[in-house]
């Protein structure tokens, strides 16, 4: 086996994050590629949540349906993943779980190990999780010292006793794992891949947050909302180190207006939210348009409408990002497909927002922000966060009409000029005007037509993978990149490629020709109306037929297997 999918299934609040994070760290340190994604209910305790860990000899970055090893922490969670359990699934569970239940009544045949018993021997049942970690680690034939090092790093701050007992628990787990190997001939040997040096692990929210810092972000105003809150958390945790003003706003309206106020005063601000919160921000978005304020919006999608499924995934807010807010102004929407892209796009979002004085979106979703996998080291030594503002002099006019359509942006306190911005239609000085014959049209052209011109050089074409000239294409956007990529890799169809859009609005001018030159065009989206397909038609005239639109709106991400099946049905 070169590619193992381990699923940990538990109730909220059972502390399985420890199991997940230790295992991921151990696998990575042992030199494997890892991927982790979670799905969870909107509650704090109880229910059934799962985390999938993939361990492989090659890069893995997408969700698989298949479960090779299942580690259930409740009986209910076995039901929860029932449809993913096959005869090949190895179930490893704590004996205690089946104290009153015969596994055969659940039609499963788990390997039962005394995790809790061992933990009690060491002194406390809470070590049971670490015992399990030891077992899995040994099962993968990973040297015990790897895990020990990780545990030391993790627990040394908690005092000697805790640290020691965790180590003991881990070792006792390793022994069970080794026994399992020999007794049950269950052994996993993954060829260690080369060049793992410096590979880093981040989830989507962290990538956005760190990309923001690379882009010079020093202000975040946000109201907590799943699944976007991780960006707020990460920037808060780094606020002192990077000098970031953090305001948990009273509501999303405030968050947006604070961000615009902050940009006005020379900060670089981001807002981070999900659909419902963003809806509340749209009046403010329009203010950014009118005042020609730069702005970066992180919008992490989840299924709607309204509260919907707060912890699930969707791509339902593309239209919302593109069209929301009253009146007309220019905006740019990115939807990263990979963790690296999320970092770089967010960094670039700040540069473009500042250079063009427009709102730039980073559109993600729950599946994307909560998943992580190892990626090559990111080198930021060449990056600079260039400020787009200028020093002003006495006669400064914030909305000067210039040839290229950009009015130099001053900030209060830098130079002698007064920086006067206005949400009403205004003249070059920023003063209210009712001049509809010349001022208003000129200002509209500046905010809309000229800005869209200025945006052209920043637009990026979609990514075609793997064959640049394939006659059939599967269009996708945002977070579906990895799952489609892996499906295509496994299918190996010579004449089928993915066309992945990370730059979703406005579209790169190559888009139309790309579509019309293709033989067959399919699309895959996580919504019920085919929002991106409709956008393509609107912008290029190319209509992807209804039967080629593969729309999913269940709240679950696609698995690699499902994409493969879908493509097979399509004849590939």
């Amino acid at each position: 086996m070169e590619d193992v999918s381990i699923v940990i299934a538990a109730s909220a609040g059972q502390g399985i994050q420890t199991v997940e994070s230790l295992l991921v760290a151990i696998f990575k340190k042992a030199g494997f590629h890892v991927y982790a994604s979670k799905e969870y209910e909107s509650r704090v305790r109880g229910g059934s949540n799962t985390t999938e860990l993939r361990v492989a000899g090659h890069r893995v970055a997408a969700f698989r349906r298949r479960i090779d090893i299942l580690i259930p922490f409740t009986l209910g969670s076995i039901e929860h993943v029932r449809s993913r359990i096959s005869d090949d699934t190895v179930i490893i569970a704590d004996k205690i779980l089946f104290k009153n239940t015969d596994p055969s009544t659940l039609s499963i045949n788990p390997i039962l190990l005394p995790f809790r018993e061992k933990a009690m021997e060491i002194g406390n049942w809470i070590y049971a999780n670490v015992v399990a970690v030891g077992t899995i680690s040994a099962l993968f034939g990973i040297d015990q010292s790897v895990g020990e090092e990780i545990l030391n790093a993790r627990f040394s701050a908690k005092g000697e006793q805790v640290s020691e007992e965790n180590l003991k628990a881990f070792r006792s787990g390793c022994i069970m794992g080794a026994e399992l190997q020999s007794e049950r001939a269950l052994s996993i040997r993954i060829p260690a891949p080369p060049h793992m040096e410096g590979e880093i692990l981040m989830n989507g929210n962290e990538a956005v947050a760190l990309g923001a810092i690379a882009g010079g972000c020093n202000f975040i105003s946000a109201y907590p909302m799943s699944p976007s809150t991780g960006v707020l958390d990460t920037l808060a945790s780094l606020s002192e180190e990077f000098g970031i003003v953090v305001d948990q706003a009273e509501d999303e309206i405030a968050a947006m207006n604070k961000a615009i106020g902050a940009w006005y005063a020379g900060a670089r601000a981001i807002v981070s939210t999900s659909g419902g919160g963003f809806a509340l921000m749209t009046e403010g978005l329009s203010l950014a348009g009118m005042t020609e304020s730069p702005l970066v919006v992180h919008l992490a999608q989840r299924p709607g409408p309204a509260t919907g499924l707060p912890t699930r995934t969707a791509q339902e807010d593309l239209n919302h990002a593109i069209y929301s807010g009253h009146g007309e102004f220019c905006r740019l929407v990115f939807a990263p497909g990979t963790i690296e892209q999320a970092f770089h796009i967010t960094q670039r979002a700040f540069q473009i927002a500042d250079a063009l004085q427009i709102p730039v979106f980073v559109l993600t979703d729950q599946d994307f922000v909560d998943s992580y996998y190892n990626i090559p080291r990111i080198d930021v030594s060449d990056l600079v966060a260039e400020h787009g503002f200028v020093s002003t002099d006495d006669g400064y006019r914030r909305y000067e009409l210039t040839a290229d359509g950009l009015s130099p942006r001053g900030v209060p306190g830098l130079g002698e000029g007064l920086v006067r911005v206005d949400s009403d239609e205004h003249d070059e000085q920023g003063h209210i005007t009712e001049d509809m014959d010349s001022v208003r049209p000129a200002m509209v052209e500046k905010r809309v037509h000229k800005r869209i011109q200025l945006l052209q050089p920043y637009l990026e074409p979609p990514t075609v993978y793997p064959h640049p000239q394939a006659s059939s294409i599967l269009v996708c956007w945002g977070s579906n990149y990895q799952v489609v990529k892996e499906a295509l890799d496994s299918l190996g169809s010579p004449d089928l490629s993915m066309v992945h859009f990370h730059n979703v609005f406005p579209l790169h001018p190559d888009t139309g020709p790309m579509l019309s030159n293709a033989g067959k065009v399919m699309i895959m989206e996580n919504n019920a109306t085919g929002q991106f397909a409709n956008l393509l038609r609107q912008q290029t005239g190319y209509e992807i037929p209804q039967e080629n639109r593969h729309l999913r709106y269940s709240g679950k991400p696609w698995s690699v297997e499902e994409v493969v099946e879908m493509l097979k049905k399509e004849g590939f």
């Binding site: 690379a214 606020s239 305001d247 006005y264 030594s381 966060a385 003063h431």
Partner: protein, 287 residues
């Protein structure tokens, strides 16, 4: 530099009605700024939308004329992004206590270092005369056809309940006191609310200049503005409305001072750049 009130005036025509209370308030504010010798380059006037909210349009200084109801969040952020600027919010009663009510509450909790001047004409002026949160019970309008039935909003009582650090009411018809209170508000470190009774000659026929004059009186010199309990009691008076500083406490840290961003660096944010080396370390620590 020589400072005078005229210096803070902008040349364009004011779109207020002749006799509007905003004129008096505007001219008093300009005098105060001159007497405090604050250069326009250090002033940021922030407002929402409404007649009152046009004040920044007419006042020399930086200007952020934002959305109806949203002056306070913008002001708070400007203060946090560059604490060396003096931020003065001037907006209406509808803007601040109506559409913007949640920001009013939340900013008082944060204590940003800003002055919040509310032109309280007890009506929606710009939209032509609907009731505002502070409108008197019984006032008839085109919407409140049988008269206002809502309990009037008492901004001072709420601010005192919220623990705002400076809470005052003025009537610009009393110029001397208005000047004095505005001065104190501007010099106060932290959030300062100044609710101003201004007449709307066009839309509010109940609360006229004369009415305000007859229904206000100065808080006695003996009033102790650190006595929260007493401040609340005085704020509840509603036959005759006291003017002056109801409540004031010094020494509570302001929002930006509490921010980690200023712990090691006093510079405004726009003067800073990213420490890419440190970021490299953070990224590398994810290995």
């Amino acid at each position: 530099m020589e400072f005078n009130a005229k210096m803070y005036d902008m040349p364009q025509e004011k779109a207020w009605c002749p006799g509007c209370g905003n004129f008096q308030l505007h001219s008093i504010l300009r005098e105060v700024l001159a007497e405090l010798s604050i250069p326009p380059q250090e002033l940021v006037f922030v407002s929402g939308i409404g007649q009152a909210a046009k004040l920044p349009q007419y006042t020399r200084g930086h200007m952020f004329n934002g959305l109806h109801g949203r002056s306070l969040p913008a002001a708070m952020a400007i203060n946090a992004a560059n604490p060396s600027l003096k931020v003065i919010v001037a907006s209406g009663d509808g803007c601040t206590y109506g559409e913007g009510g949640n920001h009013f509450l939340a900013q008082m909790q944060r204590n940003p270092d800003i002055v919040n001047i509310v032109h309280n004409n007890m009506v929606y002026g710009l939209t032509k005369g609907q009731a505002s949160p502070t409108s008197s019970k019984g006032m008839r309008t085109r919407v409140q056809v049988d008269g206002v039935t809502n309990e009037p909003f008492n901004p001072l009582a709420v601010a005192i309940a919220m623990g705002a650090t400076f809470v005052a009411r003025v009537f610009p018809g009393n110029k001397a006191q208005t000047k004095e209170v505005l001065k104190q508000a501007i010099q106060h470190k932290g959030y300062a609310l100044v609710d101003c009774f201004v007449q709307c000659v066009a839309m509010n026929k109940v609360n006229t200049f004369q009415w305000y004059k007859e229904h206000t009186y100065e808080l006695e010199a003996s009033h102790d503005p650190t006595d929260r309990q007493m401040a609340f009691q005085r704020a509840l008076e509603s036959e005759q409305y006291p003017t002056g500083v109801f409540y004031s406490v010094e020494g509570r840290p302001v929002f930006w001072e509490e921010c980690a961003a200023y712990r090691h660096n006093p510079e405004p944010l726009f003067r800073r750049s990213v420490d890419m080396e440190k970021l490299q370390d953070v990224l590398d620590s994810k290995a």
